[in-house]
């Protein structure tokens, strides 16, 4: 993929959005996080590589917008034991790159590390994350978020926070 010339302005807006989304995840602000999704949003964590067909193969998460809602309601239910107590987490995000711009949509890639501390102990997660963001009068909305964990072909501990 070649480099494209991107206006500083859009890059900066995109970065601010991604950092804000990460903060909502880190602080378990589930409802505010859900509001960042477009109505046709897809939240995808592939398994066994990052190039599988999620319509044919198992993914760790492959939520359409309605299932994202179920995921959030489960976290808010007070009985999602794997997140009660909640994991302490912090996302670190680097290498933010605008990959493509088309109309009101912008594709963004970044590298992410998440440090998690929970009842089991500490777990480190690393991923390549790609977004398809849609610009709206209310700001960006996520039409697609793909989190490709670098070890998604290996046995993984429970991942029940929002990544």
């Amino acid at each position: 993929m070649g480099m494209i010339t991107v206006e500083q302005d859009i890059t900066r807006r995109v970065e601010q959005f991604i950092y804000a989304e990460a903060r909502l995840q880190d602080e378990h602000e589930y409802a505010a996080w859900e509001a960042l999704w477009a109505d046709d949003g897809i939240y995808w964590l592939p398994a066994n590589g990052d190039a599988i067909d999620p319509e044919q193969q198992m993914s760790i998460i492959y939520d359409n917008r309605s299932r994202i809602g179920v995921r959030v309601r489960q976290l808010l239910s007070g009985k999602r034991y794997t997140q009660d107590p909640k994991s302490a987490i912090r996302h670190l995000i680097t290498n933010v790159e605008v990959l493509e711009q088309s109309g009101d949509e912008v594709s963004v890639g970044c590298n992410v590390m998440v440090y998690e501390s929970g009842l089991r102990g500490e777990t480190l997660w690393a991923a390549r994350t790609e977004y398809l963001l849609r610009d709206t009068p209310d700001g960006f909305r996520m039409a697609r978020k793909k989190v490709a964990l670098v070890n998604n072909d290996k046995p993984l501990f429970t991942l029940s926070f929002l990544i």
Binding site: R73, L119, F157
Partner: protein, 421 residues
């Protein structure tokens, strides 16, 4: 005198009673090593499914306990279970999770093996002049047998046949295959691997524990209209069953037969899966098809590691006393694309590291493992439903959906296995 001694062999009769078991059975690393010898490297262990190696020379890497196993389809169509270890100096000959290969070449000294394990060639062969190399092949699992496409391996040269081992539980695999219009299930959607820092027997016992769903899965029942909750309530007519040999099931058919609605077990209706229903009626005739589609697929734990959870297959892999991997994927019915799509979607929602159900189950496994490390009380208490345990028409022990019939059956068999040197 301070000499290294082998750990004493515990007296299992003092650790496993009729309705209580000692916590050390889950946490003692010496007992775990004994389990490898007396259970995992002896009895029939599920390894993989024939549909994972459909063509000659296909291979897929699997495991028996901590040991990696390569499952291959030979040129002759036979399924082989090989050990991933060069007989020369021990290097691993296969590092790909799956593929198609006529031979495996060890990268260390370039020895080459056919995909049934036979040594085909050594590099610079003049160095072995006059030596009989014919015994040097990849190690093989001693006995390999398959039932309805499910391939099992046993490292014991003698012992019960696979069918004798499965006993009454074989019928549950028949029941599963009956729900496929072609009579065949396939494993084609790739596995999720969900790791827990907990002993494998917590997972084993939980699979047919009907007491926990109302509590551990309350969040799912609250936020979806899954219709599962009532199956595991105190008023449920479902039964727990102990088939013997450690195999146990949660038989939900009494509940589904009361509902008398085809595909209700799967939370859907015939109208939403017309192609599947037509294919089932074609295969079985309308009357039998209706019965099969009312009953649904089984919820059965085949000792020690194959769990059929209605629409998923779980393969349990113990790697250490407190390290267990659940390999899980959607069951697929050969020739039924419309239901298969739904089977995959429901599976992805339910299981794996982020699943709505299994993330909470796995949380319980880990908390329980930490819990039993406490010294007082030392025992786990498995008496639930003893007063109402009975024998069914086939001679199997059964109880209420929430009773601990399965755990008691698992431990009865476990003790028998562990007491044989």
């Amino acid at each position: 005198m301070n000499v290294m001694t082998r750990p004493e062999v515990p007296d299992f009769a003092t650790l496993i009673e009729k309705d209580r078991v000692h916590g050390s059975l889950y946490t003692d690393a010496d007992i775990f090593r004994m389990e490898l010898d007396r259970i995992w490297y002896r009895t029939w262990v599920y390894v993989g499914h024939e549909s994972e190696v459909p063509e000659p020379f296909d291979f897929v890497t699997k495991s028996i306990g901590p040991q990696p196993i390569i499952m291959t389809r030979g040129a002759d169509g036979q399924v082989n279970l090989l050990q991933n270890r060069c007989p020369h100096r021990g290097n691993q000959v296969c590092t790909e999770p799956q593929g198609n290969a006529r031979k495996f070449t060890c990268p260390f000294h370039n020895w080459t093996f056919a995909n049934d394990g036979r040594l085909e060639a050594t590099a610079f062969a003049d160095g072995y002049k006059g030596q009989d190399m014919s015994a040097l092949s990849l190690g093989k699992v001693t006995r390999v047998a398959s039932y309805r496409g499910f391939v099992f391996g046993s490292f014991a040269a003698d012992g019960p046949t696979l069918e004798e081992h499965l006993g009454g539980a074989a019928e549950t695999l028949d029941r599963l295959c009956d729900s496929s219009p072609t009579g065949e299930v396939e494993i084609t959607a790739g596995f999720l691997q969900h790791r827990v820092k907990a002993n494998w027997k917590f997972v084993l016992e939980n699979e047919t524990d009907g007491y926990h769903p109302a509590f551990v899965h309350a969040s799912v029942f609250k936020v979806t209209d899954s219709g599962i909750g009532g199956l595991y309530g105190s008023k449920s007519t479902a039964v727990t069953r102990d088939f013997g040999n450690g195999h146990t099931e949660l038989d939900l058919r009494p509940e589904f037969r009361m509902r008398d609605q085809p595909l209700s077990w799967f939370g859907t209706t015939p109208e939403r899966l017309p192609d599947y229903v037509a294919a089932m009626e074609q295969a079985h005739g309308p009357e039998k098809a209706r019965e099969v589609m009312i009953d649904g697929t089984p919820h059965v734990m085949i000792f020690p590691n194959l769990f059929i959870a209605e629409i998923q297959i779980f393969v349990l892999q113990p790697r250490a006393v407190d390290d267990t991997v659940q390999h899980v994927t959607a069951l697929q019915f050969k020739g039924a694309p419309d239901i298969n799509r739904r089977l995959r979607q429901q599976t992805m929602g339910s299981v794996g590291p982020a699943g709505f159900l299994l993330a909470d189950d796995s949380e319980m496994y880990e908390r329980t493992h930490r819990g039993v490390l406490s010294r007082d009380p030392e025992w786990l208490f498995l008496t639930r439903g003893e007063h109402r345990e009975r024998t069914d028409d086939d001679g199997f022990r059964v109880g209420h959906a929430t009773d601990e019939v399965p755990s008691r059956g698992i431990w009865r068999h476990y003790r028998q296995m562990m007491e044989v040197e």
